[in-house]
């Protein structure tokens, strides 16, 4: 095994911890504004106040507190939506790999699903059905099933020809038992690698949808929404309401991507010769 990416794991742990503890460590209520202190610059600049380390937005709300709560939304959407995709896609892929006719049907559905970008489906569905945190998680989660079904089916097809599966079948095991007891553990590495690719992708997707105004509702603190609101004040020299939240988001996505890269190298046997 290659050395664990300790640094990235530690940073991710800090992100998760900060997101969970946001209600206790955030210096202010993220939604509470005060028009008397709108657009305060970060504390290290002239006119900044120590009580608002990263400044305030156009309604006087604390940027730091909003980032902390926003990361909470990013992480919950990232993990919950991917969980839904896995819960739908993996069983479908398992059955599709086992039954030829069902497999063909699933693969045609996968073709349909993959012939429009996830982003576009989520955008259209959320714009027409209305937005909100739960709908967002549900839509992104459901739309993501196809990649898992395809990968798991492929893995099952190649595993099925192996001897241990033949042996299990020869011993008279039912196909369901073979599937869940013997095949599933062996295709899990494929799923894990895909999850590590999907989590950062979904986090960015949530931020983008919220930025376009079809993601979370406006009372929810969200990085995408903060940047959207900050965009109106770019030309009046207010940079901290857009730059800082985006930087925090990029940090989170960067960390998950680094861990994902490590997982892929560790689990993909074809890449084994690449690392030294």
């Amino acid at each position: 095994m290659r050395r664990l990416p300790w640094f990235s794991l530690a940073i991710l742990a800090i992100f998760v911890l900060v997101a969970i503890l946001a209600p206790w460590i955030a210096p202010h209520d993220p939604l509470e504004g005060d028009l008397m202190r709108q657009h305060l610059p970060p504390a290290w600049l002239d006119g900044g106040e120590a009580a608002f380390p990263l400044g305030t937005d156009e309604q006087g709300r604390d940027i730091l507190s909003n980032i902390l709560y926003g990361l909470r939304v990013s992480l919950s959407v990232g993990f919950l939506a991917v969980l839904i995709s896995v819960a739908i896609g993996v069983p479908l892929g398992l059955f599709a790999g086992y039954s030829r006719r069902f497999g063909e049907l699933v693969m045609r559905l996968v073709d349909v699903q993959l012939s429009i970008p996830t982003f576009l489906i989520a955008l259209v569905v959320l714009a027409l059905w209305g937005s909100g945190l739960l709908k967002l998680i549900l839509v992104i989660g459901v739309v993501g099933w196809a990649e898992y079904a395809r990968l798991v089916r492929g893995a099952v097809l190649s595993e099925r020809a192996r001897e241990y599966v033949l042996a299990a079948e020869a011993l008279g095991m039912g196909s369901r038992r073979v599937m869940f007891r013997h095949l599933l553990p062996n295709v899990l590495s494929v799923v894990l690698v895909q999850v590590s690719v999907d989590v950062p992708r979904v986090i960015l997707l949530e931020a983008t949808l919220s930025f376009l105004g079809v993601g979370v509702s406006i009372e929810t603190p969200s990085i995408g929404l903060m940047v959207k609101r900050g965009m109106d004040y770019l030309f009046s020299g207010v940079w901290w309401t857009t730059a800082l939240p985006g930087l925090a988001l990029m940090g989170l996505v960067l960390t998950t991507n680094l861990i994902g890269d490590w997982l892929r190298d560790a689990f993909d046997p074809r890449r084994r010769h690449i690392r030294r």
Partner: protein, 304 residues
């Protein structure tokens, strides 16, 4: 030959599936009369309007008419402008195509050589630097990147325009915003396939023959690494044509993605529908071309 026919039928099936799904999704989003009919319309007038749009027919009939029109390339009339939805999108198509072409060109020109360099100098400090940049590139939110570009190059330095299209200067910021992620993606992909190829036996043979390293890398290795690269570029083209929504919006680019976003906000269903179906067609055609290309250069694919 059979392979191409099967791929073609699969492509048609995918487009049909998308069209059906969109039709169903739109049914679920409520009565369109609430949007179309002005508040002060009488009941009879609303019914007349409903008939005019064919919305009084049973769902199955509406679906049949919709499919028939679709097959003829008629995607309905925009509810806001009264023009045919497809013509509306077509008038904005060139602007999007131009932007996407520029973005892909930037991504290839920067990503490809950087990827080769990283692979040839694997584990050197150049490779480490490029690899870090590439993870950064796929982690930066596009909408944020675009805004940062405006903040730096338009607001602070005043070098480049932040909105509109017209001069070549207008292409620079949206072009780089769109290509940033792709530069990183291409770099990563070329690096890993080049490393894969460079460890193959025939490369060892070529080196053992005493061929110059330049020839080994560019003639033997790069050629093989380019096959999956062309596929990736093709797929990214499809993604960009329908994925430039954010960039076109931030930079007020007069392309079809911004048109579609406006249609979403005004619930102009025929335009939304036309955009989704057009995207599916672009995707399907790109996929088909990529598959055919693959099948032509690599006979193994045809029998898989």
């Amino acid at each position: 030959m059979r392979y191409f026919v099967v791929r073609f039928l699969q492509m048609l099936f995918a487009v049909w599936g998308v069209a059906t799904l969109v039709f169903l999704a739109l049914q679920l989003s409520g009565d369109p009369m609430e949007l179309l009919a002005p508040e002060d319309m009488t009941e009879a007038q609303v019914e007349a309007l409903r008939r005019a749009y064919g919305l009084d027919q049973p769902l199955a009939v509406q679906y049949a008419i919709y499919m028939k029109n679709l097959a003829r390339g008629d995607l309905g009339i925009s509810w806001t402008s009264g023009e045919p939805a497809l013509a509306l999108l077509a008038s904005r198509f060139p602007a999007t195509l131009a932007l996407v072409t520029v973005a892909l060109a930037i991504a290839i020109v920067l990503g490809l050589p950087a990827g080769i360099l990283a692979a040839v100098r694997a584990d050197s400090w150049i490779d480490r630097g490029l690899r870090f940049f590439s993870v950064l590139g796929i982690s930066a939110p596009t909408f944020w990147l675009g805004i940062m570009f405006i903040l730096i190059f338009s607001v602070t330095l005043g070098w480049l325009p932040s909105a509109g299209a017209g001069s070549w200067k207008n292409y620079i910021l949206p072009g780089f915003t769109l290509s940033f992620y792709r530069i990183a993606l291409f770099l990563r992909m070329i690096r890993s396939t080049m490393l894969d190829v460079l460890s193959q036996d025939y490369i060892r043979t070529a080196r053992a023959k005493g061929l110059a390293e330049r020839i080994v890398v560019y003639k033997h290795a790069l050629r093989n690494a380019l096959i999956p690269f062309v596929t990736l570029v093709g797929l990214q083209f499809g993604h960009l044509m329908a994925g430039a929504v954010v960039t076109e919006w931030i930079f007020a680019w007069p392309g079809m993605n911004r048109l579609a976003l406006n249609a979403l906000f005004t619930e102009d269903r025929p335009v939304i529908l036309a955009f989704v179906i057009l995207t599916a067609v672009i995707f399907a055609v790109v996929n088909f071309i990529v598959d055919v290309f693959y099948g032509l250069i690599d006979p193994r694919v045809r029998y898989a």
